[in-house]
Symmetry: C2
């Protein structure tokens, strides 16, 4: 049973995960970050020790969680000195579990599918936690830990996780960028972004119940060429928005044609 952890990383995900674990009674013993002030800031929130030196990692923890950006994982692993049977996981969507092979005999992936900010408290209880492990017993240990945080625990292999992460880029990063474009268009007319907020929320709430193909409305779906042409013209001085408008409109139309018969 995992009762305590060492967290390597102090970014958005590391922060929210440390807070959620602590809240559920799992002790965060230590926080590592290359930046001492980041390690210290998070450690303070969860009453943990902290360090910016991987050689100073506490040697006895039930679980080591590597929650650093993808490109830094390997470097961390190469400088980590844990015993062969100590349990280690990473938290990355697009990094295969096999990256951990050789650094311990007991490893896995613990991927919470959500967007995290350092200062925005998040309810972990509904976040899908995606688990993969080197051995069935490791899986069970991670599954149990995940079950203390969330009611959605999922066995997801590296290939599936990679696809989940790709989907997440579309529905989170890209969606957020469309929000930014909406805000930018309004800003130029001195209109308040607040006017779009109820629409943004309802759009997200709608697909909690309906499949997105069934929820689609608007000019692209109807292929209303006069309004599409007029809106493209309004974007004449924003060629990058114009391109997005064209390709997404085209894609919506194709998608609806392909999927209408199955709805």
């Amino acid at each position: 049973m995992i009762e305590n952890v060492v967290i390597i990383g102090a970014g958005n995900l590391a922060t929210q995960l440390a807070l959620a674990l602590t809240e559920k009674g799992i002790q965060v013993k230590q926080v590592f970050s290359r930046k001492l002030e980041s390690a210290s800031a998070l450690a303070e929130k969860v009453n943990a020790a902290f360090t910016n030196d991987l050689l100073q990692l506490l040697p006895e923890a039930d679980l080591y969680i590597v929650a650093v950006k993808d490109s830094a994982i390997l470097e961390v692993l190469e400088n980590l000195h844990i015993k062969n049977d100590q349990l280690i996981v990473h938290t990355a969507g697009s990094v295969p579990m096999s990256i951990l092979d050789g650094f311990s005999n007991n490893y896995g992936v613990f991927y919470p599918l959500q967007t995290f900010s350092k200062n925005r408290k998040i309810d972990f209880s509904t976040i899908p936690i995606c688990i993969e492990a080197s051995h069935p017993s490791t899986f069970l240990a991670l599954e149990k830990l995940a079950g203390r945080l969330s009611s959605s625990v999922n066995q997801i292999n590296s290939d599936e996780r990679k696809n989940l992460h790709l989907s997440a880029v579309f529905v989170n990063n890209f969606v957020n960028h469309l929000y930014a474009i909406g805000a930018d268009i309004l800003h130029e007319k001195r209109l308040d972004f607040g006017l779009l907020k109820p629409l943004i929320l309802e759009t997200a709430q709608k697909v909690q119940e309906l499949h997105p193909s069934a929820a689609q409305t608007g000019p692209a779906k109807r292929y209303d060429q006069s309004i599409i042409a007029a809106q493209l013209k309004m974007l004449h001085d924003k060629p990058e928005y114009q391109k997005i408008y064209s390709f997404v409109t085209e894609s919506i139309f194709q998608f609806q044609q392909k999927h209408d018969h199955v709805l």
Copy 2:
């Protein structure tokens, strides 16, 4: 004071508006739709008369609401016989108020900025209602009516409304399409779309408080070229998704560079 209305149209917006008005004690006297069964279905919900013949419109209503698709508005107006001083509005984002000029002396626009479905009940109280009117007294009457439905009543002219509608296409139609792409990527791997739902909701909730530029995370923002290249490769058999991926990624990166200094 507007105490009763005739609604021309029986689509998503007409339906939800009729329900909201009825709930607030404003009588829907009659519903018109070209399809008699659509007119009848909505009329039944709000206890109104119905017709599919514009010549049969009731002659005495405080307000005539034209809530048909953009391309049908003019045809409706040309076949409508109302008195010169009777109040008429349309509900379209991208159609200028001036389309009503000549059909009455007393007209305006009543544009609720939201996505509507026929069968999804919606809370009108937070929906921004955007009003424009031919005369100050008309504006006051429409403002009062809007105020009975929502706490967000906004004076918005035709040019502003056109821009609001363009923004709405980005944050609603296009966002919804990105949800559909996410679902499609998961579907190919037999993964459940439900895994993305908490992420979708949190992404929308985040920008209720933070500006979208400040909420952005992910590989495009960091311009993490190795993951961008890997994800583009995963989409090799979906050229239209690949294009969207490329252009949105490029646009995110440019946007962040341009806006980082003002955040």
